[in-house]
Amino acid sequence: MILLSLLGISILVALLLAFIGDWRYAPEINIGGSLLTFFVSLVLALQVYREGGSIAGSDYFFVDYLNISLVVLTTFVSTTTAIFSRRYMLVEREHGRVGHWRMRFYHAMFQLFIFAMLIALVTNNFGVLWISMELATLATVLLVSLYRTPTSIEAAWKYFILCGVGIAQALFGTVLLYFAAERVVGAGGNALLWTNLSQVSGQLDPTVMRLSFVFLMVGYGTKAGLVPLHNWLPDAHSEGPTPVSAVLSGLLLNIALYALIRCKALVDGSLGSGFAGNIMMGFGLLSLLTAAFSMLRQKDVKRLFAYSSIEHMGIATFAFGLGGPIATFGGVLHMIVHSLAKSATFFSVGHAAQMHGTQEMAQIRGLIRGNPAVGWGLFLGVMALAGMPPFGIFTSEFLILTATMKDAPLLTPLLLLGLAVAFAALFRKVQPMVTGLIPAGQKQLTAANIPVFLHLALVLLLGIYLPGFLANWFHLAVEILK
């Protein structure tokens, strides 16, 4: 029942906003719907915590420690993004960049996107997981091209085509998974259920599972933006409206990675070797290094942070590939803190870009003097993303680094190199933007500060003090992936 209302609210609000999305109070409805979903997810989380372990909603859905953490994260970030979007889209509308129809479309698609992500998280069926990943992509394709500028249409087309090619590979991988599962579980819909497969993963045919994982890795890896399948990501994340960039970078990449780690758990059970882990470590490390060096030569501020998302996804993928309790714990924590810090940074970037009328970093200057809240928000967000203590990303990266030194010491220098280059790139690019004098032509605006500082406070909190129940919670989530 609670599960159904979790999914139902967003789809109903999406339908409602499809009709009245351009009304004066539509942004408030958008916020209200997201907030309600957030509360429901909290109730669900409490239930999981009380009853301990997983709740199965018949054959279709299931909730355990791992996916409920991501559900709460998703609904929380979508709520704060809705709050940010209210102010942001108001300015865009005043500038005449979006009209009535597009506001309706924007609001409806925003909720549909949340709906698709929540289904992907709570579904029990690997086929439905694929379907909802594709639905989430489709819901955001036209949001990327919302402004209808030539570059945004190009970015959206690239997103549509490249992700279409990528995700098709994941479907083939799912077919192979079904083939392997059918021989153990028997024909019919039950053969794709996680709750069944995780029990019998040891009996799945290793040859088929190996082949299946390669396809799943390419498919969901494309969606997670892993190098060399990342070509679409910097374009798609930089051309759309900033609230969309925030949820694409902060949430959708996580969902793709979540799909991948579920698949990995099955493959590990079947093969009993580090096959899947090694592939993931390779992809992760390559993503981290490529993205870090690419960040050095970015000029567009949103592209810079899009590459930073590739970098962080690389780190998390590497951590899950490495496996073991510490690295996996670090990986789960990293997904959560990165999501919070990245969306907060995008909020500040959105305001900064609106103040200067451009996304060119060379023209964005003097933010702290111009608007202290936006300037400090951006600076602190970037410090968090760069992995400075005492923010939570430092904690997760430290854990991952420690585990690397223990289990794969030869890779430590590469990991450190990636982190150092990314830090240098971020600091060098952002420092002149926030300091200095106010340039001519900088406009003032009322920024939505609550979402930014709320996120940063949480990232800080997770960095200095991880409450006992939460640490316990993450440990239980890690248990699932063993």
Binding site: I153, W157, Y178
Partner: protein, 221 residues
Amino acid sequence: MTHTFAVQLNSLLAALILLTAFALLAQRKILGLVHIFAWQGFFLALSTAVIGYASGEHHLYISSLLTLVMKVILLPYILYTLVRKLKVHRDIDAVVNIPTTMLLGIMLVVFSYHLTAPIRELSNLMTRSTLAVALATVMLGMLMMVTRRHAVTQILGFLAMENGLFFAATSATYGMPMVVELGVALDLLIAAFIFGIFFFHISTTFESLDVEQMAKLKETD
């Protein structure tokens, strides 16, 4: 219809599906491509029905019907209308070097046979030998998407990949669970809606459906 006959018929249909996949690579005219795509869908629907009959898995009839409606009637009709409306039916995709693409395609087919060899040995379904064709169709669709420069051709490559995936599911496991097949069909329908909108946006913004012109977003140094 005896069992052997059904297997042979299915192999013939698989060969025809592969043939249409190659025809899609070779054809340059946009409308010609839409016709070939409709034929591919038709062979796919027929093959699904034959497998459904021979294996006694009657839910495959529903899949077959779904394929017939979606991929033989609806999608080609939508594409045909869009192509007419946007006046691109005379367009010829300026693709270079079809012979090289075909050679690459042949290599992909060999590769697919190699990749699916372990599954052929494990499976005891009558359709096990066609899985390689299905994977080859997916690969050829992908090849089409990366070598062609016209928006409509790229979409046709995308849809051909989808055909290949559907064929893979019927070959490997007599189809996916019904809920998954319906979901995939729904996604396909939404995708059709979206690429329809895209064609309009691209042609009004760039005055052509040639995606070669969309090359503004490059890494700048």
